[in-house]
């Protein structure tokens, strides 16, 4: 009975409308900010609910007090996070003094708000022009009248298509991979093994890179075996023994020329 009295309390606050237990759930889930909640509104709703009943339900009152106290603490912490340490050591008299000071400050500002409301009511008959001030722009530069032929000359210059700038110097020229494939195959037909580094010595960096691609291609197709004693040591290339006699050479496969053509 007591639980029902508190949890089923219907609230109609500025920030929330619904049963009290849903409000608590939302607060605990941090879906709602405690500082948005008007605790006085909740207390009023509970007191009204109590007044409707003929006898005082002490159990419900006790539970409500605990919940509201917790809610007030949550709200106080969210409103004054930095002042917690400052307020903790206050003596009861000091706390009463501080509370009185704050209440007095609030009361004075409420009076000020009431004064403003009265003033607003008294000034209701004041009508005046309202809007952005139509101030003249300053410092605007005016262009002196120009002769028509000068304008035409300027336009003619702008209308001339710009010269084509050659980008030839930016192009990288790659020799075809197939060129090195043929060269290495011819070499392996004459010799069983050769040293890659001495073979590409004197070529440009780009040519050396393409030659290395050709070497990898030969290794991939199983035509050569590669050995290197240590990183950056010379690469030794050795002709691989044929797997089967009269078989199709790996480079006759249609897949490979497509790849090499694109690479080149």
């Amino acid at each position: 009975m007591a639980l029902a009295a508190v949890h089923e309390l219907d609230l109609d606050l500025e920030a929330f409308e619904g049963p009290f237990d849903l409000l608590l759930t939302l607060l605990l889930d941090e879906e709602l900010e405690p500082r948005e909640i008007d605790v006085a509104g909740i207390v009023l709703a509970f007191v009204e609910r109590l007044a409707e009943r003929e006898e005082v339900d002490l159990e419900a009152c006790g539970e409500f007090l605990v919940l509201v106290a917790a809610l007030l603490e949550l709200k106080a912490r969210s409103l004054f996070p930095d002042e917690a340490a400052e307020l903790d050591p206050l003596e009861p008299e000091e706390a009463a003094e501080e509370l009185a000071r704050r209440l007095a400050e609030y009361r004075r500002l409420r009076e000020a708000a009431a004064w403003l409301a009265e003033r607003l009511s008294a000034e209701r008959g004041r009508f005046f022009r309202l809007g952005p001030a139509p101030l003249a722009p300053r410092g605007e530069r005016r262009i002196a009248p120009q002769p028509a032929d000068a304008l035409a000359r300027a336009l003619r210059v702008l209308a001339t298509p710009p010269p084509n700038v050659s980008l030839a110097h930016m192009a990288l020229r790659f020799p075809p991979v197939s060129q090195f494939l043929e060269r290495f195959r011819a070499l392996l037909a004459r010799r069983r093994r050769f040293d890659f580094d001495s073979e590409v010595e004197g070529l440009s960096r780009v040519e050396q890179a393409v030659a290395f691609l050709a070497l990898l291609e030969l290794r991939k197709s199983g035509e050569v075996a590669l050995t290197q004693a240590a990183p950056f040591a010379p690469i030794r290339v050795e002709r691989a023994p044929r797997q089967r006699q009269g078989g199709v050479r790996p480079f006759d496969d249609e897949r490979i020329p497509t790849w090499t053509a694109r690479s080149a």
Partner: protein, 200 residues
């Protein structure tokens, strides 16, 4: 025989008053003496003299137009006699539906500003976000920099429109805060009385 032409030398202050009159008719917000002097290309002292003439000419009850000193400047407004007619044609949207929460927030900003939302919330005891947003939208308060400490919260101050809507010459025309409400001593006594009653 033609009568000889009589050249009437217009009083220079009167001529300046006419210029100021024209400037105030065109302006949509109060103009300060300095602004009037710059626009009229005259000195401030003479402008003040001319304004004296105009204030007399446009005093309440003498014309449909009233010259008032408001929001740190001078502006024309409609006379109070014409308020009903004005109300039938125009409205004052700035103050329509101004809630108690908004008025309290406005009072805090007017008296203690520039101040931030956390400061307003501390005084009022509830979050001030919606009240502040409503006042900013109405143009009664505006941002005025940020706090250096506590996360750099935006601070607010009242605008010249606030002074104009409330008919204030400046914020100094607000009543002193110390003259409003009861003092802390009285409240403390009452709190102690309540505590004593509860303890007994």
């Amino acid at each position: 025989m033609d009568s000889p032409l009589r050249l009437i030398a217009a009083n220079p202050v009167d001529r300046l008053a006419r210029t100021i009159e024209a400037l105030l008719v065109v302006a949509s917000s109060p103009l300060s003496v300095a602004e009037l002097a710059e626009a009229a290309d005259d000195d401030a002292e003479r402008v003040e003299t001319a304004l004296g003439l105009l204030r007399e000419r446009y005093a309440e009850g003498r014309s449909g137009i009233v010259l008032e000193q408001v929001a740190g400047g001078y502006a024309f407004r409609a006379s109070r006699d014409a308020a009903d007619a004005c109300a039938r044609l125009f409205e004052r949207p700035v103050e329509r539906g101004l809630s108690q929460a908004a008025l309290e927030t406005l009072a805090i900003v007017a008296y203690l500003g520039p101040c931030s939302r956390p400061e307003i919330a501390r005084i009022r005891g509830v979050a001030a976000d919606s009240a502040v947003a409503s006042l900013v939208e109405r143009g009664l308060i505006a941002e005025a920099g940020r706090e250096i400490a506590s996360g750099g919260a935006v601070r607010y101050r009242t605008t010249p429109l606030f002074e104009r809507v409330f008919g204030l010459e400046s914020l100094a025309a607000l009543p002193r805060l110390d003259d409003l409400g009861s003092d802390a001593g009285e409240l403390r006594e009452r709190l102690l009385e309540v505590a004593a009653a509860r303890a007994s």
